[in-house]
């Protein structure tokens, strides 16, 4: 652009009449952009091909609707719940395993995040190590981990569940922990360094207090995800609600199975409300949006915030450097007063410790459940990697199936999310009412535990990829729609105002200003959805959706097939890294 302008102005220089008529400037397209567009076209094309390849036709729909109506006709009358005592016990067991697993992951993630964050990494190679641990742990589905390690423990032990959640969650938690470290204000840390603080002192006094709120939010978020995932973990024999549900389905006791599924669903919703309330109360995150929900919360907390206003105005500063007063006066001040803030924080900490203690007690962790003679054989069984009995061709066909489910679901989510998400953006929605409805729809969709829905569909309609596709496509709308709405609201308002001033209609403004500015974020979010879909599709494969997850579930419980697990996980790592690489490259090209 500037080059063409320069050329034009040069030829228009005074005193030098243009030698030739000015040619209209040619549009120059960089090679990278062409490649970027081609890549996007290829990704979308693969998505369309994937939808076509699912075998979703009229006869399947007829079959599915027949199955569903048959099911609801039969089962709706016969849904049964376990006795309240059993239910309480199972819920406690599930929560115990999830709390402990998430906690273990959080603790292990602290040093990994320290290594992986650019500003705390002691050396570049350690930074890569920290990131590599995150990528690998994220790629191994927790069901596979639970199957694999359960061979080391007594039957019915909950430790495999804790280990599976504990290892798998490291990936996400350590990444978000590291992101938080990279976003701190470096000043306080520099001040402690300037006072002679060692790296450990800098971290605990200067970094940790700054990242703690974000870290707590991350752990709570992961806790929600793990509660949803615990339904699937039951299939790997991890005790709790998920196991009771899997057992009921195995015995064709559908009424009981769905009773438990409803309980898990309710538990997910309840815990999400609890954790978002805790996040708000503990971290002082004030809702700032203009949505209805935000307004209600703001109104409810208004009075309290006014009371919390700093008392600084009244404290008259006295800049008198008098020599220190006798220490006798100061010893009385050594005790920290019980202010409202301190009481509240202490209450939270005590409550948290109480629940963690309860979880440990309830999960019945017992070191005697470890079968020590089995530990070394199980650990060594993962090497060397192999394609096992299935063979490479079958494995790659299965990988294609998994990718098809992920891409097909992401494409459907993208189309729906773009529509709903746009109307949920303040600068696109015609009025607050439309925006409010769109936001509520997105929130409701986000609340659906897609893994449980997929499981539900697999049980009723039958094994196959389509139930997983449907569940992921619906679940993805909530996540992607929210991300799209947020990134549309963040675009520069200037061009929109300029177009409005030029008399553009709402649609013209959207097409010419909002969409082009939001496009790079849109591409990134869509690929992020593909990434999470690949993981979820793998997980669902383990419980009947086919694909690479099927082979993982087949080989994980058998010691002599563990070489195959290693191969499959390595393939997943490569796929996940490739997707992240493509996303990063596209962000660079269009950013």
């Amino acid at each position: 652009m500037t080059a063409t302008l320069d050329r034009a102005s040069a030829s228009l220089a005074p005193g030098r009449p243009p030698a030739s008529p000015i040619a209209p400037p040619r549009r120059r397209v960089s090679g990278a952009r062409v490649a970027g567009w081609l890549a996007i076209a290829a990704l979308l094309g693969f998505g369309v091909y994937s939808i076509g390849g699912l075998g979703l036709d009229a006869s399947y729909l007829a079959h599915a609707s027949a199955k569903l109506s048959q099911f609801f006709g039969q089962t709706s009358n016969t849904i049964t719940f376990p006795s309240p005592a059993d239910l309480a016990y199972l819920t406690g067991l599930t929560l115990g395993v999830v709390v402990l697993g998430t906690l273990v992951a959080a603790l292990i993630s602290v040093p990994i995040a320290y290594l992986a964050a650019a500003n705390t990494a002691p050396a570049p190679w350690l930074r890569w190590l920290g990131r590599a641990i995150g990528v690998v742990t994220r790629a191994v589905p927790d069901v596979v981990l639970a199957f694999s390690v359960s061979l080391m423990f007594a039957l019915g032990s909950t430790i495999p569940g804790v280990i599976a959640i504990g290892i798998h969650s490291i990936g996400m938690i350590s990444k978000l922990f590291a992101d938080a470290i990279e976003q701190i204000d470096e000043g306080p840390r520099t001040a402690i360094r300037a006072a002679g603080g060692s790296p450990a002192q800098q971290f605990w006094a200067g970094v940790f207090p700054q990242v703690l709120p974000a870290w707590i939010a991350t752990v709570l978020h992961r806790f929600d995800i793990n509660v949803r995932g615990s339904a699937i973990l039951g299939y790997a024999g991890v005790g709790g609600l998920g196991y009771a549900m899997a057992l009921a389905f195995h015995q064709f006791d559908y009424g009981r199975g769905f009773g438990i599924a409803i309980v898990i669903f309710a538990l997910c919703v309840a815990l999400e409300i609890v954790s978002s309330t805790v996040r708000r109360a503990l971290l002082g995150i004030q809702p700032t949006g203009r949505g209805l929900g935000d307004r209600i919360v703001r109104a409810a907390t208004k009075g309290r915030r006014a009371a919390d206003a700093p008392a600084g105005a009244s404290a008259r500063p006295t800049a008198v450097a008098s020599s220190a007063a006798p220490p006798a006066d100061l010893t009385g001040l050594l005790r920290r007063p019980w202010t409202r803030d301190r009481v509240r924080n202490t209450a939270w900490v005590v409550a948290a410790l109480f629940f963690v203690g309860l979880a440990i007690w309830w999960a019945q962790i017992d070191p005697n459940q470890i079968m020590w003679p089995q530990v070394a054989p199980v650990l060594s069984s993962f090497w060397p990697p192999s394609f096992g009995s299935a063979g490479a061709a079958a494995v790659f066909t299965a990988l294609l199936e998994t990718l098809q489910v992920a891409f097909a679901a992401a494409l459907v989510s993208l189309v729906l999310a773009l529509a709903i998400g746009s109307f949920a953006a303040r600068n696109v929605a015609p009025n607050g009412w439309v925006r409010g409805v769109a936001r509520v729809v997105l929130t409701a969709l986000r609340g659906i535990p897609e893994l449980i829905v997929a499981l539900f569909l697999i049980v009723i309609v039958g094994l196959g990829a389509i139930p997983a596709f449907v569940a992921l496509a619906i679940g993805g709308v909530g996540l992607l729609g929210k991300l799209i709405a947020d990134s549309f609201e963040e675009v520069d308002a200037g061009p929109e105002r300029a177009l409005t001033a030029a008399g553009a209609t709402r649609t013209q403004r959207y097409a010419a200003a909002t969409l082009p500015q939001g496009a790079p974020a849109l591409i990134g979010h869509a690929l992020y959805l593909v990434d999470t879909n690949v993981r979820a599709a793998t997980l669902l494969g383990a419980v009947g959706a086919g694909g690479i997850g099927y082979y993982l579930a087949l080989s994980a419980p058998q010691l002599d097939l563990h070489g195959e697990v290693t191969t499959l996980v390595a393939i997943l790592v490569v796929v996940v890294l490739a997707l992240e690489g493509i996303a990063a490259w596209l962000r660079r090209v269009f950013g």
């Binding site: 402690i192 300037a194 006094a205 008098s322 220190a324 001040l333």
Partner: protein
């Protein structure tokens, strides 16, 4: 000052050049500061004041030249020795750099990490004697009543006084101050500058303080060192230094315009 009779240099910078690749931070800087002196580094932003201060605390290493502080060659120190030296040299910053979510008292206590082994988090992790000392320092800067408030609840001037208390917690021999009042209103600026001066006198501290306001510098330090584009262009006792002369640091700009601009900037800040 009495130090003129028995000069004992605590800071000796010789021929220091800092090359950032794209830009030159310092060129051939020579500076000697004696024990007990209060020196002002004067110059516009980007003239190299902060870079020079950061070299004195080993936060930056020179591309060439020698930095000697309290008899130690700063660039040659190993990590542990450098931490020990930093413990004897305190620093305060333009943006105060307190940990916002910690209490005022704990922020003061973080000044003592150099005297303690191992990481510290929470008031209880500091020995009782340290907590008593921290309270005494808070009393000295007039903020004892705010000891248990979160640091980010305080005003800018109060936060800078907490940062001074944190610096005192180090029992420093040298105090480095990097534009300590550039983010403060005039009244808070006056209080903070008076406090630094008073503490320096009481405790016999050596102070090197960077400023960009000529008026503050003239009435405050023993000696003014002017920097422009990474070079020292003026090094003279404050006594007898005229404002016109000091203004020459700022270069080609005529005195009156420069003065106007500076006062305008000062008012804005």
């Amino acid at each position: 000052m009495s130090t003129t009779t028995r000069p004992a240099p605590v800071i000796r910078v010789t021929g220091v050049t800092k090359d950032y690749g794209s830009a030159v931070g310092l060129r051939g800087v020579d500076l000697t500061v004696n024990r007990g002196e209060v020196v002002v580094l004067l110059g516009l932003s980007g003239s190299g004041k902060s870079t020079l201060l950061r070299h004195l605390d080993g936060l930056e290493r020179p591309s060439s030249g020698e930095v000697e502080v309290l008899g130690e060659s700063v660039p040659r120190l190993r990590a542990r020795q450098l931490r020990r030296l930093r413990g004897r040299v305190a620093m305060i910053f333009q943006q105060f750099e307190l940990v916002p979510s910690l209490t005022v008292l704990e922020n003061v206590l973080t000044g003592a990490v150099g005297q303690l082994r191992g990481p510290r988090l929470g008031l209880g992790s500091y020995p009782r004697s340290f907590r008593l000392r921290a309270l005494a320092h808070l009393e000295r800067v007039g903020l004892l009543a705010r000891a248990y408030d979160r640091a980010d609840r305080l005003s800018g001037g109060q936060q800078q006084r907490v940062a001074i208390a944190r610096a005192l917690m180090q029992d420093p021999e040298i105090l480095l101050a990097d534009e300590p009042v550039a983010s403060l209103d005039p009244e808070s600026s006056r209080q903070v500058m008076a406090l630094i001066r008073e503490i320096a006198a009481d405790d016999g501290l050596t102070v090197v303080c960077s400023l960009h306001q000529v008026d503050l510098a003239l009435g405050w330090g023993d000696r003014v060192v002017g920097l422009r584009s990474g070079e020292i262009v003026l090094d003279t006792p404050t006594a007898g230094l005229s404002k016109t002369k000091a203004m020459e640091i700022y270069g080609r700009v005529t005195t009156s315009t420069a003065e106007l601009q500076l006062e305008f900037t000062g008012a804005l800040l």
